[in-house]
Symmetry: C2
Subunit: 209 residues, 2 copies
DNA sequence: TCGTTTTTGTTCATAATACCACAAACTCCT
DNA sequence: AGGAGTTTGTGGTATTATGAACAAAAACGA
């Protein structure tokens, strides 16, 4: 496979393949064909094969893909064959739920630093993690070498927090605040806004679509 | 504009336009050009104009779009010019955070029914909402005429819950469980899995991308 | 009033994406 | 051993999405 730049849309699908493969692994499946994986995910098998072919030849004709091996390869490609420390900014209801969330375990991520600007929260602990003053972002993030942050603050504070994080060296932001962030283009942002997701579905309900 | 089918990718952008416009509205802005909106969102102005043109001519040459009016039109198009009752299944940490979430207010959505299968939770109240037994899904959802549900249960229960919801008449599901759901094609699903979103960014960190 | 500047809606060309189809490689059964 | 059945990786093609460019319309200033 030529060393072409891999399209972002391909990268965005790999985590879905990985998630499904890990699910199958827990079910005890050892080998899987692109066809079966495709059916589970509701995509075409050709797409899966083509996406994977950007990175190498992982399958075997006649049988398919070794589940364990493909999982390892995908983790390596996505760079989640390690554990990334993350900073969480904004410890409200949502922030707290994220700290307690068990789903990060074994997936390559770990919340290691908490920030909030509410004096009543600073110093308190959640899951043995102390809540730090947001003003210490520029000091603690470089010290820990943190590259990934989660923003869970009110919308009007989000851009300011993002600016601070970027200045401190963060390269990837998972943004739960309902606002589009302005960041330098070397910084990646992913958005989670339940309202946006819901509004993407209502168009199709009821009407003549 | 001809009555062509509107591509899903266009629909998926409209909530972002709406969100930015409402932000500008709160700032007191009355008129906006596609150019300015585009810059805020990091997209091209041609794209915004083209997306909007699927639904009509909302702008005026020389000045731009009336913010108030465009908001109303987008809300009408997306069918959020009303309030949708939603059912939430799974009242764990995340479910609780969603019930307390203030962001649904005024955006067209309202959580009106809670379900859980944990006997210790059933009957308890959160925000004046009683937690109902999940076995009552098939009874209460049609009774309330609910069309939208949020799934916040552990992954191994998610597919079963989805099946129940679909049977009860739900047409749109916001799925927080880390699993791809199998649903009939008249049912829309949107996925929120922080791990997937994070894994879409790590590929670009550090390496030679 | 009239020329200059803005901005829309749309056309058209280009780019990105998805998918069909098939040779080659492997499996499995008899 | 060998033929039938599977499944991969990929070349080619159809489809879809993006973006540049421009006429028409409105705004503005002198």
């Amino acid at each position: 496979m030529a060393a072409r730049e891999v399209p972002n849309i391909v990268i965005s699908r790999l985590p879905l393949y990985l998630r499904a493969l890990e699910f199958m692994q827990r079910e005890g499946k050892q080998v899987v064909a692109s066809r079966e994986l495709a059916e589970r995910l509701g995509v075409s098998s050709a797409q899966i094969r083509k996406d994977l072919s950007y990175f190498g030849e992982f399958g075997k004709q006649g049988s398919g893909y070794q589940v364990d091996h493909l999982i390892l390869e995908l983790k390596r490609i996505l760079k989640v064959d390690r554990e990334w420390d993350m900073a969480l900014v904004g410890v409200g209801d949502l922030g707290r739920a994220l700290v307690h969330y068990e789903g990060f375990k074994g997936k390559g991520f770990c919340i290691s630093l908490l920030f909030d600007n509410n004096p009543e929260k600073i110093g308190a602990k959640i899951n043995d993690l102390e809540i730090m003053d947001s003003r210490l972002i520029s000091e603690l993030i470089p010290k820990w070498g943190i590259k990934i942050a989660i923003i869970a603050v009110p919308p009007q504070e989000a851009q300011g927090v993002a600016d601070e994080l970027v200045k401190a060296g963060v390269l990837a932001i998972l943004n739960y605040a309902p606002i589009t962030l302005k960041v330098p283009k070397h910084v990646k942002v992913q958005y989670i806004d339940p309202v946006v997701h819901l509004q993407r579905m209502t168009y199709y309900i009821g009407g003549n679509n």
